[in-house]
Subunit: 190 residues, 2 copies
DNA sequence: CCCATGTTTCTGTTGCAACAGAAATTACTG
DNA sequence: CAGTAATTTCTGTTGCAACAGAAACATGGG
């Protein structure tokens, strides 16, 4: 969010202020992030890149959000690990520029995929482990085994379902979701 | 998780150790909590109550998990605010005992409801606000308006869909989810 | 009405993620 | 192969959520 110009053969840039609307959105997105276990700054940077019409470089981001350059660097790395931003290059500029995944549906799918990989899959493993060990050693109370089993069943059903959705192309997912009422009736009849 | 006994007319209780399986589960659940923006201790307490065959009182919980009594008190309040644990009373015992919602599907539905109420609904409001203001003042770039609109559309579609699911009784939800493949085909044909 | 038991609130402490700024490293250019 | 621009890594700091323990408060029973 800089304005760039050249004067007497020298480059200048001044930080462009965010509009109130943009600010409000970025701040809210940051708060939402914290509620979902994502660092506030990371979420803010993502919000900024998401609504930015053009890719931004790290200095831009640092200046616009008022955080340290190093902080941006690490946050960018975090966002990359989530696979939701990528590096692009601008002609005549050596600096890395970053842009967010722009399609909302793809974006959320990507986040869900990552969360599944990082959190749900390990949980499935742990639950299976626990159940196996409880079964083997007979140490745990039957009730514990029962409950862990129910939890595992739940997660397995849900991931299985997600795998289905996951394979659909975006337009089909949208159709699927929007057909909620219709589907409900169909299933109700089954 | 205490063993209680009476000796020479005096009550004794000793803290019962958690089985390795139970420990493993509680610790993992705690970590999962932190990843989703929920306090570790809160999540651990919930895990403990979930797999406990009988309601536990605060002292029990504090002793078993090795945290301060006051910490348990506040965490309990937090869990109650999520609506996933409730107070029960045991005959001949003045203390409050707590038990978790026991049905996995109900439990997750409850959590989803709360998250929607706390996070999604406010986000919808903010987004509508932002878009309205951008529309009114014409201050924001068209691109920003466009992106905010897409985001709003996404959230509206998803919440609309969730409302549908929300109204189904649990067995129907399960059927619905398990019928994933079938539904996919139905929609594909639509 | 007082004592015992149980719970919540208050207050000060602590551990750690988040962070800034400096230093080191890497990549480019003329 | 300097010299500069860009980025990452390192190191020390800080703010705050999480927490423990004490104090205050509530409740029930004899």
């Amino acid at each position: 969010m800089f304005i760039r110009y050249i004067l007497f053969g020298q480059k200048f840039e001044i930080a462009m202020e965010l509009t109130p609307v943009t600010q409000k959105f970025i701040l809210h997105w940051g708060e939402m992030g914290t509620r979902w276990g994502i660092n506030r700054t990371v979420a803010q940077i993502h919000a900024l890149l998401f609504i930015s019409p053009k890719p931004l470089h790290a200095e831009d981001i640092a200046e616009t959000l008022g955080v340290a350059r190093s902080n941006v660097s690490n946050s960018i790395k975090e966002l990359q690990s989530w696979g939701i931003i990528r590096v692009v290059h601008v002609l005549g500029d050596r600096r890395d520029h970053f842009e967010s995944m722009k399609d909302v549906w793809d974006l959320f799918r990507q986040v869900l995929d990552e969360r599944k990989r990082r959190e749900i899959d390990p949980t499935l493993i742990i639950l299976r482990d626990c159940i196996a060990e409880a079964e083997r050693t007979r140490s745990a109370e039957p009730y514990v085994r029962e409950k862990l089993g129910e939890l595992l069943g739940f997660f397995e059903t849900m991931t299985g379902w997600y795998e289905q959705i996951r394979r659909m192309p975006t337009p089909m997912v949208i159709r699927f979701v929007k057909a909620g009422e219709k589907v409900r009736k169909l299933i109700g009849m089954t």
